[in-house]
Amino acid sequence: MTACMERKKFLTTTSLLLGGAFIRTKTWASPTKKSIVRPPYLQPGDTIGVTSPSGTITLEEIKPAVDLIKSWGFAIEIGKTVGQKDGIFGGTDAARIADFQYMLDNPNIKAILCARGGYGVVRIIDQIDFSHFRKHPKWLIGFSDITVFHAHIHHHQRVATIHSKMCNSFPDDWPNADALKQDTIHSIRKALQGERLQYNVAHHPSNKIGQGKGELIGGNLRTLENLAGTNSDIETDGKILFLEEVDEPLYNIDRMFWNFKRTGKLDRLAGLIICGFKTMPDDPEEQHFSLNLQQIILEKTKDADYPICFDFPVGHQVNNYALKCGCKHQLDVTPTATTLSELFIS
């Protein structure tokens, strides 16, 4: 603790001499909104509902997840969309709406774990009635296409949600699964049981040093881009934005970050967390895109005064740790490490 305080004093003194160039501390006031509500944490014996509002999945594919979660002391209710298929979807739009609505409104279900991502939430979100959920919030868990729910619920219902792996990422053979896989799955349990989440990540040379506090919001970049202008759009002023992506070529990533910049989403952040970006190789008929991921992002944030970190362990990859979207966090990007800490409000 002492070493920390001394370093901070040194940096503060330096910033006075250099006009604040070193320290970027951002704590913007969050506009209008009421405070984010954390749903009740889970107790032993509580029921978690499993549903598939996006892609199709079989009962067999979710079995490892079901078995493990039961071993944690929870009950599982498997929704009707598990085992259903309509093209790429886990059932027709109507079936997925009905299943999700049932999970939202059933008082016995204390958390909703999405079975997988894919695509499909935007086709149903406008038919979901969140009024019961607003009065009796519960945890919603998932990522990728589930980003739509995170964004929508954050904006409208102001309830915290969990951005994490889903059923389709639970290892088949739990006892022999590698430590990292187990650790990331454990992070879901920690989030559900009320542990304060804190992550320490290695420094990346492209990081922008600084500190910021704000509600955590984000998810899949393309999914978020395609919410612009709709009533599921995210507002990012005063928030810590985290972004991940998979299977997009660099020029698309560049285009999407231009959209974020040009829709004001990068202007008044408290912090920016760049997570896993698994880029698709360039089209062989086109030349290699001249900017790398860090350059793409840093050129659009060059006037920004908030901390930025890269390679945060979230995304379409094995190291995909749970994050409590909506909850206030502190992001510390120092020359040696990055820390993201959930701030508890009692």
Binding site: D86, I88, E225, N226, T230, W258, T263, E286, Q287
Partner: protein, 302 residues
């Protein structure tokens, strides 16, 4: 009120060819240059034609300068883009339209150029031409489609008649035309390049996207209120569409048809606009009448 159409080209006028986005070999503009010269037009080839900088036809500054110079040159009466690709997003906010607003000229292009069209449509009262670019004359040397830009440039009122499609919704609509590449239209939403859509006839086209991705982008337009405001929908070609390992099991036209079922505006499918040979010139900002009937559909400039 319809946008103002720039002056029609006349013999002796200068036309610039520039590449504000992707790179292309200079030889690819030759067919276009020849056709322009046949019409007694003088061709000015921009610096970005034939230039390569990794992905683009020059640095952002070079591409911006080339386009800006062509916009501000009072002797240049029309700008034809060489090709699309990607790159307009990176320069659009630095583009100065002051001179262009006072001295309009035709701008021709599609694909990535969609963002330039929507931006000009939003910020000026000037019509632009969504249509084949210089490279199209090289890609389809024997086709009549690239040449549809010439009547557009030379003050001819455009009229297209096509066969009806089984998914069409019968009806008529009148309104200003707006549209372009679906991905770029979605990309414009929420930014200063998002076009107004109230009372307009919207046309969309796409290439090389996953069906589910095109579905998602179309839904973004819907959820952003575009469909609540438009007078008619023209669905162009959706070519080289990709599918996921688990197939979507519906073609994109059928998916779009489903998404518009609760609206009343006329809808036409397979209109010849997009990334295939069948790509006709359309004047964004001009007033059109869309008549969707059987056995034919007419899109006619008013």
């Amino acid at each position: 009120m319809a946008k103002k159409q720039p002056e029609a080209l006349q013999a002796g006028d200068k036309v610039a060819i520039v590449c504000p986005a992707g790179q292309m070999d200079e030889k690819r503009i030759q067919n276009c240059v020849q056709q322009l010269q046949t019409l007694s037009l003088e061709v000015i080839v921009g610096n970005t034609v034939g230039q390569k900088e990794n992905y683009f036809s020059g640095s952002d500054t070079e591409r911006l300068d080339d386009l800006q110079k062509a916009l501000d040159d009072k002797t240049i009466k029309a700008i034809i883009c060489g090709r699309g690709g990607y790159g307009i997003s990176r320069i659009i906010d630095q583009l100065d339209l002051h001179y262009f607003k006072k001295h309009p000229k035709w701008i021709v292009g599609y694909s990535d150029i969609t963002l330039l069209h929507t931006h000009i449509n939003r910020h000026t009262s000037i019509a632009t031409i969504h249509g084949p670019m210089a490279g199209a004359f090289d890609s389809y040397p024997d086709s009549e489609y690239p040449s549809t830009i010439f009547p557009a440039l030379m003050d001819t009122s455009l009229k297209y008649k096509i066969e009806s499609h089984e998914l069409n919704r019968i009806g008529t609509a009148e309104g200003e035309l707006i549209g372009g590449n679906l991905c770029l239209l979605a990309h414009s939403i929420g930014s200063t390049s998002e076009p107004e859509t109230k009372g307009k006839i919207l046309f969309i086209e796409e290439v090389g996207e996953y069906i589910y991705s095109a579905d998602r982008m179309f839904l973004q337009l819907k959820r952003a209120g575009w469909l609540d405001r438009i007078a008619g929908l023209v669905v162009g070609t959706f070519s080289d569409m990709k599918d996921t390992t688990t197939p979507f099991e519906m073609d994109i036209y059928s998916a779009i048809k489903k998404h518009v079922k609760d609206y009343k505006f006329p809808v036409v499918f397979d209109f010849p606009v997009g990334h295939t040979e069948r790509n006709v010139a359309l004047k964004i900002g001009a007033k059109y009448k869309l008549s969707v009937k059987s056995p034919s559909v007419v899109l006619k400039e008013k």
